[in-house]
Structures are given as structure tokens and as C-alpha cells.
């Protein structure tokens, strides 16, 4: 078993057994914390799909998080107020509300991605930021839905066979969706589509000369990542039973980027670890001092300046045997494809 698989399984086991540990320690708040980790992990992993595999540095990823949450919030608001929304009396069933929300996120990502991908470099970073801010201000101006204050929800969505109001069941749902999302992303980046996407990052000219149209692949990835961000937002709305424009604000996008970097760009699981460390540090440091950012800022700085490969890279790196450069004139190196991908 490779080191990487071992680490992945260890992470999975920790997450899976956490509720047992929490009840053993009589610390139910751990379940709540880890639910947050799973949700942010999903958002960060979907951003990693863009940054790490598509070389698209989106500074507006929280927009999808916010939008996904808001669709849940708005439908919940209309349903509980018995106030039909365009003639529809609403629903609290996750099987109806969630796909609807994901569809909205996908359409939004399609439009934002199509427009943003006409630019690249700094301009791309800035235009994604601009679209995120547009959404933020539009959400803030919706006085029916609380404006800046957002919407408080009365209940979580319902899912047949599960009681989402039960924290442990809700946690396992989030964990299950996170694992499914990571598995899907892993398949994706190793599929034909994933290779084309990663190839575009390495040489766009080569890709075009092979007859590949960059926009089609980047836009598809943008939409997929937007759906991932939206799903995280849906879960967050159900977890916190509260949505507000802050979910889509630019500093939330910055936080997601920080999680990706902390955990390791282009590793998918790394960003989940990054989210865990980010939120964990926030939790621990803010218990200790209200000025926790005074410590967290320099810490983040050190990681960015000196920790090139992120946490996940760090976990893999003490065993460098398989990454030795090939000896000249030796038989061709047998590349360990699992380590690279």
C-alpha cells in the first residue's frame, strides 16, 4: 500500500469514526466542527479543480457557495411563509430543492465562466472577483430576504430515510457527499477530459495544435467546480440553518484559496486537510485570543512563502525515494503514475 493511500484512508477513518470519539469524549461540538470541515473541504476541493488542474485562479468561488445556499434559503423562506414563489408553493424536500439549487449554480457558472474565460492572468482573477462581488451586492440588496442580515431557516430540508435534524446523521450525509465528490474529482482529473484540462495548463499552444478548443474544456471544468461549490453551499445552509450575503463575499473566496494552498494545490484531498487546518486553527486560536488573526496572518504567510507543496505534499515528502531524478544512461525511469497524478 502506498503512503498516499495510507494517508487517504487515515483521513477517511478519522472522519468516519469521529462521532464515536465525540460521544466518548462527551464533546458533541466536535461533530458540528467536523461537519463544517466536510462542507468547507468540499468547497475547497472544487476550487482546487480550477486552480490546481485547470490553472484558472478564480477569486470568486465563494459566489457559488453563497448562491447554492441562497437558493435553499429562498425556497425555505417561501415554503415556511406560505408565500408562493412564481406560483410554486415551495418544497422542503432535498430531492427537489437541492437539484434545483445545483442547476441554478451551474447556469450561473456557465455565464460567469463564459465571460471570464475571455480573459486570462490577472484579468481573470479580477473578473471572477467582480462577478462574485456583483452577486454579493445583489444578495445584500434583497430586502425581502433580509438584505445584509440574510435569512434564518426554520428547518432543514428533508431526505427520505435520513433525519437531517439529527447532527450525527447530517454529519454522515456531508461526509458521504464529500467522499463521493472527491472520488468523482479523482476520476475526472485522470479521465480523458482531465488530461486535456491538465494539458491546457502545461501548453495551450500544443493543445490548440492538436485541435482542442481551450474554452470548451475550461468552461466545463468551471461549471463542474461551480456545482461543487454550490453543493457545499446547500449543505452549509442546512447546517447553519442560516444564509447571508457574507457566504459569497470576497474574503470567503480568499479563505477558500487559502485552504487550497495550505493543503496543497492540485491534490484534491489536500484542500480538505487545508480546510480542516484553517478552521481548526481558527477554532483553537480564537479560544485563546480574540486577536487570533494576529497569529494566523503570519502563519499563513510562512506557509505561502516557505511551504511550496502544502500540507499534503509535506505528509508525502519524507519518503523521497520514488522522486529521485533518473540516472543518466540508466534504463528509463519507471514513473510511478500514482504519485504524480
Amino acid at each position: 500500500m502506498s503512503r498516499r493511500v495510507l494517508i487517504d484512508l487515515l483521513c477517511l477513518a478519522t472522519f468516519a469514526l469521529l462521532p464515536l470519539l465525540a460521544s466518548w469524549l462527551h464533546e458533541p461540538f466536535l461533530v458540528s466542527l467536523f461537519t463544517r470541515l466536510a462542507i468547507y473541504g468540499m468547497a475547497a476541493a472544487s476550487l482546487d479543480l480550477l486552480i490546481g488542474y485547470g490553472a484558472m485562479i478564480s477569486f470568486g468561488h465563494a459566489a457559488f457557495f453563497g448562491l447554492g445556499g441562497y437558493v435553499v434559503g429562498v425556497i425555505g423562506f417561501h415554503t415556511s411563509q406560505a408565500m408562493p414563489l412564481w406560483g410554486w408553493e415551495g418544497s422542503s424536500s432535498a430531492l427537489i430543492v437541492w437539484p434545483l439549487s445545483l442547476l441554478v449554480c451551474a447556469l450561473f457558472a456557465l455565464v460567469v465562466g463564459y465571460l471570464s474565460l475571455r480573459t486570462s492572468g490577472v484579468q481573470f482573477i479580477m473578473i471572477t472577483l467582480a462577478f462574485g462581488q456583483m452577486l454579493y451586492f445583489v444578495l445584500s440588496s434583497l430586502s425581502l430576504y433580509g438584505g445584509d442580515d440574510g435569512i434564518l431557516l426554520n428547518e432543514r430540508n428533508t431526505l427520505p430515510g435520513l433525519d437531517l435534524e439529527n447532527p450525527v446523521q447530517f454529519y454522515y450525509l456531508c461526509l458521504g457527499l464529500l467522499v463521493a465528490w472527491l472520488l468523482f474529482c479523482r476520476r475526472l482529473v485522470n479521465s480523458r477530459f482531465g488530461y486535456v484540462l491538465r494539458g491546457l495548463k502545461q501548453s495551450e499552444r500544443r493543445s490548440i495544435s492538436l485541435g482542442l478548443h481551450p474554452l470548451r474544456y475550461r468552461l466545463s471544468a468551471f461549471v463542474i467546480a461551480g456545482v461543487g461549490g454550490g453543493l457545499a453551499g446547500i449543505l452549509w445552509a442546512n447546517y447553519a440553518m442560516f444564509v447571508s450575503p457574507d457566504m459569497g463575499a470576497w474574503h470567503k473566496s480568499g479563505e477558500l484559496m487559502a485552504m487550497v494552498i495550505l493543503g496543497g494545490v492540485g491534490t484534491l484531498i489536500g484542500p480538505v486537510l487545508g480546510a480542516a487546518v484553517y478552521l481548526g486553527l481558527e477554532q483553537v486560536l480564537s479560544l485563546w485570543t480574540e486577536h487570533w488573526l494576529l497569529i494566523f496572518g503570519p502563519l499563513l504567510l510562512v506557509v505561502v512563502l516557505f511551504g511550496k507543496k502544502g500540507l499534503y505534499g509535506l505528509l508525502l515528502s519524507p519518503w523521497p525515494r520514488w522522486r529521485k531524478p533518473p540516472v543518466p544512461n540508466a534504463p528509463p525511469a519507471i514513473a510511478n503514475s500514482e504519485v504524480r497524478s
Binding site: I51, I57, F59, L115, R118, T119, G121, V122, Q123, I125, M126, I127, L129, A130, F131, Q133, M134, F137, V138, L139, S140, S141, L142, S143, L144, W250, H251, G254, M257, A258, I261, V265, H291, W292, L293, L294, F296, G297, P298, L299, L300, L301, V304, L305
Partner: protein
């Protein structure tokens, strides 16, 4: 009259944006670094000004304190952090400077508290003058506009008529060329960065009595400043001026006319809700449109 007043308000906002954007665009154009911390220096300037004014009671001393405070903090950050970022990719730059923002916000909170004492101003500062028959306009805002205009002229002279300006132009066009001229690049970079911070300090001083001095004031205006430099063309001071004027005007006129326009187009309850959001989002909408038509901005540094 409303139109003229809104134009002046727009100009005042343009002046603030230009003070911040001209430095930021040079920092990006020459060092190639995305500096999210630029707004932090503006906040530092505003806090220094307000604090000094409340201690000493001197308006102009407050200005001096703002500029010096921002410049010193800029020098510290440049030499300890920024210079390690120039060669890094944009992702690292965004995150590292975000970390500087986090840190600075908390540092200011610890040093000065969440908001400093209100800044005392001399009597003449609060008066109005008649700029046109029937139009009274506050001196404070006129001073802001004048500062913006003076800096614009000074920058034009600096860039077109001095050796430093020549280096800056060369640096924005071609990094290697400046090195080939035998210039100490590290010193030039420090100089440009601190210069940008001085302009931030000036902006902070001008804004301190007018706008609310608070933690996070830097980020709010910073995002709009980025919009300005992207609209104008990254790395170009002329572009920063054009962008600042465009965004400032759109904001000033938008505040006056968007609600009226929407009232005519839409039912009252919808338009009231939407116009607030539309005004706030207008700068971003302008930027999206400009980027779609001219992906490199209105007046890019390199032709």
C-alpha cells in the same frame, strides 16, 4: 444642479480611487505583484491621521503622520515580505498579501481599538463655498478633488520628465531592460512600493475626516481600486486616471439616476430593492463590460 453636484461627488470619489490606483498599478506593472495589502496602507494612514489629530489637534501634522506612518509600514512590509513575492505566481501573491491584510487589521485593532477617536478638523474645513451661482459645495470635498488633481499632475511630470520616471516607464515595459541599464532593481522596487504607500497615506489623510475610519476600510476600497486598474489597463498610470474617473463618475451619477431610472421601468417595490444593489454593483458591471470589449483594459501600458 443635482447633475453638477453629483459630478463633483463623483470627482471626489475618483480622486480617492486615483490616489490608491496609481500606486497599485505601478506596483503591479513594475514588480508584477498582485498586492491585496495596498488598502491596508490606506487604513494605516487614516488611523495615523485621526490619532495624531486627536492628540495634537493639528490638522497638517496629522497629514504628515499619515504619510510617514504609511511609508514606514510600507518599507517594513516591502523589505520583509513583498520582495520575496515578486518572482512568485499570482496565487502565492494573493494569499501572502491577504495574510498581510489579516495581520494589519488585527495589529491596528490592538494598537488603536476598533475605531479611533473622531478626527478634529479646523473650522475652515467644515465650511462651504459657492462653486457656481446657487451651488454650495463643502471645502473638505474640494480639497480632496484638488489633492487628486495635484497628484495626477505631479505623477505626469514625474513619469515623463525625470530619470526615475524613465526607469518606471522602462520597468513597466520590460523588466530585463531596467536591469540592463545597470540600475539597482531591488532599490527601485522598494522605492516604487514605498511611493505607492505614500499615496495611500495621503488618501488615508484626506479620507479620515470625511469617511468612517474603521477596520476593513482598506479592503472595501481596495476591491474597487483593483476594478479601476483593470478597467484602465494594468500597469498604466494614464489608465488608472481614466479608470478612476470612469468608476467615480459611474458611482456618483449612478447614485443619483439609477433609482429614478428603475422607478420608471419597474414597479416600486422591486425597483427600491434592486437599485441599492445595482449602485453597489455598478463598478463591477462596468469592469465586466470593459473587459469583454477590451480584455487588456482601456489604456494598457504596452501597446
Amino acid at each position: 444642479m443635482l447633475l453638477l453636484e453629483q459630478i463633483l461627488n463623483g470627482l471626489q470619489y475618483s480622486a480617492l480611487l486615483f490616489l490608491l490606483a496609481s500606486g497599485l498599478t505601478l506596483i503591479f506593472g513594475i514588480m508584477g505583484v498582485i498586492n491585496l495589502a495596498h488598502g491596508a496602507f490606506y487604513m494605516v494612514g487614516a488611523f495615523c491621521a485621526a490619532y495624531t489629530a486627536s492628540l495634537s489637534g493639528s490638522f497638517w501634522l496629522a497629514g504628515l503622520a499619515a504619510v510617514i506612518g504609511s511609508a514606514l509600514y510600507g518599507l517594513l512590509i516591502e523589505t520583509s515580505i513583498m520582495r520575496r513575492l515578486y518572482a512568485r505566481d499570482h496565487l502565492d501573491q494573493v494569499l501572502a498579501t491577504l495574510a498581510v491584510v489579516f495581520f494589519t487589521n488585527e495589529l491596528i485593532t490592538v494598537l488603536f481599538g476598533r475605531s479611533p477617536p473622531a478626527m478634529p478638523t479646523p473650522e475652515w474645513y467644515g465650511t462651504f463655498v459657492e462653486v457656481l451661482p446657487g451651488l454650495m459645495y463643502p471645502v473638505s470635498r474640494l480639497l480632496f478633488i484638488a489633492a487628486g488633481a495635484l497628484v495626477a499632475i505631479a505623477m505626469w511630470l514625474l513619469i515623463n520628465h525625470t530619470r526615475l520616471g524613465m526607469l518606471i516607464r522602462a520597468g513597466a515595459d520590460d523588466h530585463e531592460m531596467v536591469g540592463a541599464l545597470g540600475v539597482n532593481i531591488a532599490r527601485l522596487y522598494t522605492l516604487v512600493f514605498v511611493f505607492g504607500c505614500v499615496l495611500c497615506g495621503l488618501a488615508g489623510f484626506m479620507a479620515a475626516p470625511l469617511l468612517s475610519v474603521e477596520i476593513g476600510m482598506g479592503e472595501k476600497v481596495l476591491i474597487t481600486t483593483f476594478v479601476v486598474i483593470v478597467v484602465g489597463g494594468v500597469g498604466s498610470v494614464r489608465g488608472a486616471l481614466a479608470g478612476a474617473l470612469l468608476i467615480g463618475m459611474v458611482d456618483g451619477l449612478g447614485r443619483a439616476y439609477i433609482p429614478q431610472l428603475l422607478d420608471q421601468l419597474l414597479p416600486a417595490e422591486v425597483s427600491g430593492t434592486l437599485s441599492g444593489g445595482l449602485i453597489s454593483a455598478s463598478a463591477y458591471i462596468v469592469m465586466a463590460v470593459v473587459l469583454l470589449v477590451r480584455p487588456r483594459g482601456l489604456l494598457p501600458a504596452r501597446a
